[in-house]
């Protein structure tokens, strides 16, 4: 660490920040500063760097909220840490890496290139940085990936990382190197721009900001002052997150993720939240489908105004006795006993294990299904028959709103405990069959019941 500190003192002020701003403004992949080694004056080695290319897996300590600038700096620091731990690791293999640190599999090829660069040293006159320093003027290398290794010793590395253009120019007591994964034609003005805008900072600002400011604050300051001059910089937002560390399984690494980094832009609650029905399918699954099973009842009361469903007797029906399901199935068009047909289907499963759900009395009602409703018969037709305790009521009358409940009211008035009710409506005529048990203390005649029912049925 001692040599590192020494190195730091020799490096220009806030170098990393400057490199960061420089490479981000031109949207290149990395910036490295090669500095002349303290101990070996004729040798260039890694001074500092900033990585700005594609990353693979992000590893951060989540307790700290980082903005994009900070994330970039952190990434470069993490890469440096990884390099250090790998080089230490060769000496002492037990070195443990903290959980938020990167491991080799978290890196893209370009990041690997950047990391391996940290291990390079150049004699003056050797390699790209070495020659640049020797010549004293910038070197622009296109097709870095296919360059002669005598000119560019890292050309093979560059090939694997898809680095295509590398530029070096002398700066202070070293060489600044910039690289990018695209082919960029030689442009001296770019080098000039970088030098003047970022690297040779105004003295005043430098003096003011000497040790008090951290890199992060400096970047913010810079961006504030230089925003107009900076070309549009899309940092961070365009990185496709190829995989997430914790979630990767190791297999099928070649498959790209379907997910992209989340972008905050466009976070507006859509109108949908207010106007249209939300969670349509989910609500139907939870609220309506279970009710569909209530022996073929198609829909809940709110579902369709044409269909009236009263199926939970304990709440809606005045009868308090045995659990009873009343079917009211009415359409203006058809006369199908759809509800009963459906319940038959449940019973007729090809599978003998299917349990027939028994609503009380349904099986017994089946024969009645086939009764033809006689259109020519009298509008009111009431039959009450009694056999000991069992009372059977059959009514055919003109349907009107609430008539069924009124009829049931009559039944309960006479202490008739209905255990099965069957009803249907066709062409406005209600056909109702009630099987009940008389539970009252006093005997009651069929005539009395009939009269009461007639009164109800006859009302308009």
């Amino acid at each position: 660490m001692a040599t590192n500190l020494q190195n730091q003192e020799r490096l220009p002020e806030n170098l990393k920040t400057k490199l960061a701003l420089a490479v981000r403004s031109i949207q290149w992949s990395y910036a490295i500063f090669w500095s002349i080694s303290e101990r070996q004056p004729g040798v260039l080695k890694w001074g500092d760097g900033y990585y700005n290319g594609d990353i693979k897996t992000r590893k951060t300590i989540q307790s700290i909220e980082l903005n994009e600038d900070e994330l970039g700096l952190q990434r470069s620091e993490q890469l440096r840490e990884l390099y250090k731990s790998l080089s230490i690791g060769e000496a002492s293999p037990q070195a443990r890496r903290p959980s938020a640190a990167l491991s080799p599999e978290d890196l893209t090829d370009t990041e690997w290139y950047y990391l391996v660069c940290m291990s390079f040293v150049f004699d003056i006159g050797q390699g790209l940085p070495g020659t640049t320093l020797a010549n004293g003027h910038p070197t622009w290398l296109c097709n870095a990936h296919s360059a002669d290794s005598k000119v560019f010793s890292r050309s093979l590395l560059a090939k694997s990382a898809s680095i295509q253009t590398v530029v070096c120019f002398p700066f202070m007591r070293g060489v600044v190197e910039l690289g990018v994964t695209e082919q960029v034609l030689e442009d001296p003005s770019l080098i000039h721009h970088i030098k003047t805008s970022f690297l040779e900072i105004p003295y005043a600002l430098a003096a003011k900001n000497s040790s008090a400011r951290s890199d992060k604050e400096l970047i913010r300051l810079w961006l504030k002052d230089y925003k107009e001059e900076l070309p549009k910089c899309k940092v961070g937002s365009s990185y496709p997150v190829r995989a997430v560390p914790i979630l990767k399984n190791g297999k099928n690494c070649h498959q790209e993720s379907s997910f992209v980094s989340w972008k905050k832009a466009g976070l507006v609650l859509t109108h949908k939240l207010k106007s249209e029905t939300q969670q349509k399918v989910l609500k139907k699954i939870l609220l309506e489908v279970p009710r569909m099973h209530a022996d073929g009842l198609l829909g809940s009361p709110e579902y369709n105004s044409n269909k009236v469903a009263v199926y939970d007797s304990e709440i809606n029906c005045p009868l308090q006795s045995v659990r009873l399901i009343i079917y009211l199935y009415w359409t203006t068009q058809s006369n199908t006993f759809k509800s009963l047909k459906e319940s038959n289907k449940i019973g007729n499963g090809k599978n003998s294990l299917t349990n027939k759900r028994k609503a009380p009395g349904i099986d017994e009602m089946e024969p009645d299904m086939n009764h033809n409703v006689s259109k020519d018969g009298p509008a009111d037709n009431i039959t009450v028959s009694m056999n000991k305790e069992d009372v059977l009521i059959e009514i055919k009358c003109i349907w009107r709103e609430g008539i069924l409940l009124e009829i049931m009211d009559v039944a309960s008035h006479f202490h008739l405990d209905s255990h099965s009710v069957q009803s249907s409506t066709m062409d406005g005529i209600l056909s109702l069959t009630i099987k009940s048990k008389h539970k009252g203390l006093n005997a009651v005649s069929t005539g009395t019941i009939k009269q009461a029912l007639r009164r109800v049925a006859g009302k308009c």
Binding site: Q62, S63, E65, V241, A243, V244, I246, L247, K248, N249, K251, N252, Q255, E256, S257, S258, F259, V260, S261, W262, K263, K264, G266, L267, V268, L269, T270, K272, L273, Q278, Q279, K280, V281, L282, K283, K284, I285, L286, L287, E288, V289, P290, R291, M292, H293, A294, G296, R323, I325, E342, K345, I346, N351, L353, T354, N355, R357, K358, A359, P360
Partner: protein, 340 residues
């Protein structure tokens, strides 16, 4: 004896899409890969608002990135199945079992792409009375003979599927119960239209613990997911809400986090099977978001880590331990597999 007929796969970018002839809702991924091939079975339940519905089983091959249908692995189901689930890997059976909920809890045995045979139809009405339909169920990983079902009649029923009988039935809530999730062998939680998340322990059936209640009284809670990697955490969603509420069972009533970045209501949630801090949610805004839960949340709330957009409202989401690199979503009549 494989009888696979069609191979229908639509791959755009990094998603694999299967187009079904009908709208889909229920979905389940098998917890065991097939012995003969390295493909993964996925069961798809139709959502047709009529009596005749179907359950189809398709095979997904993560190597060739294709989805195959099998003519023989298709079942009829009355009305849309409200949930589908394959037997957990802890149930050491040679063949996959598939369970479905609807009017009853039904179990089928899937015999290696050749056929699918019914095993049980479990109906808890012994007296022939009305059996309340099921909104959801959960298969206990640790005790795989146990399935818990929840119903609109406010009860939760625990089944012993080895014997095919009811183990116990509890009146869990004041209103319809919409979802249920096992935590341990004898502990489960449920959510209801009464707006509460309650935890039940089968060793003490008299008592339950309310660990959360929706802020506006009687806002139904629709979905529940218990983090199997870290049993302290649960996630739930509310009706007509774009929030995913993260709960810590050690601190009841106060959510640990409310994930509020969906642009419309959330329909489905699933914890990551291989990580304790990741959760995925999907909703009416056609987006699937993966969230990483921080140890300390920032002041502006938590942003998702990544997102994926589908063509229309996403109704279903499944993230299985057997296929940890893939998230399956269902929207309109399509099932899509997203690479994580």
């Amino acid at each position: 004896m494989e009888n696979s007929t069609q191979e229908s796969h639509l791959r755009s970018e990094n998603t694999i899409t299967y187009e079904s002839p009908y709208p889909l809702y229920a979905m389940a991924i098998s917890s065991t890969p097939s012995r003969t091939n390295q493909y993964q079975r996925i069961a798809l339940g139709s959502f047709i608002e009529e009596y005749n519905n179907r359950i189809d089983i398709v095979s997904f091959d993560p190597e060739t990135l294709s989805v195959k249908t099998h003519q023989n692995l298709s079942l009829e189901h009355p009305f849309p199945p409200t949930k589908l689930m394959f037997s957990p890997s802890s149930l050491h059976k040679s063949n996959d079992l598939l369970a479905s909920s609807g009017d009853y809890l039904r179990l089928w045995e899937v015999r290696d792409s050749a056929s699918i045979e019914p095993v049980f139809v479990l109906n808890n009405s012994k007296t022939g009375e009305f059996c309340a339909p099921l909104t959801s169920f959960d298969w206990n990983d640790i005790e795989p003979k146990r399935i818990g079902t929840c119903s609109i009649d406010t009860t939760c029923t625990i089944w012993d599927i080895e014997k095919g009988v009811v183990e116990t039935q509890l009146i869990a809530h004041d209103k319809e119960v919409y979802d249920i999730a096992w935590g341990e062998a004898r502990v489960f939680a449920s959510v209801s239209a009464d707006g509460s998340v309650r935890i039940f322990d089968l060793r003490d059936k008299e008592h339950s613990t309310i660990i959360y209640e929706s802020p506006r009284p009687d806002t139904p809670l629709l979905r529940l997911a218990w983090n199997k990697q870290d049993l302290r955490y649960m996630a739930t969603t509310l009706m007509d809400s774009n929030k995913v509420v993260i709960l810590d069972i050690r601190s009841p009533t106060v959510p640990v986090a409310e994930l509020e970045r969906h642009r419309s209501s959330v329909n489905a949630i699933a914890w990551a099977p291989q990580s304790c801090r990741h959760i995925c949610s999907a909703g009416d805004d056609s987006q699937a978001l993966i969230w990483e839960l921080p140890t300390v949340a920032g002041p502006n709330g938590i942003d998702p880590m990544s997102m994926c957009s589908a063509a229309s409202e996403i109704n279903q989401l499944q993230w299985s331990a057997a296929l940890p690199d893939w998230i399956a979503i269902a929207f309109s009549n399509k099932m899509q597999l997203l690479k994580v």
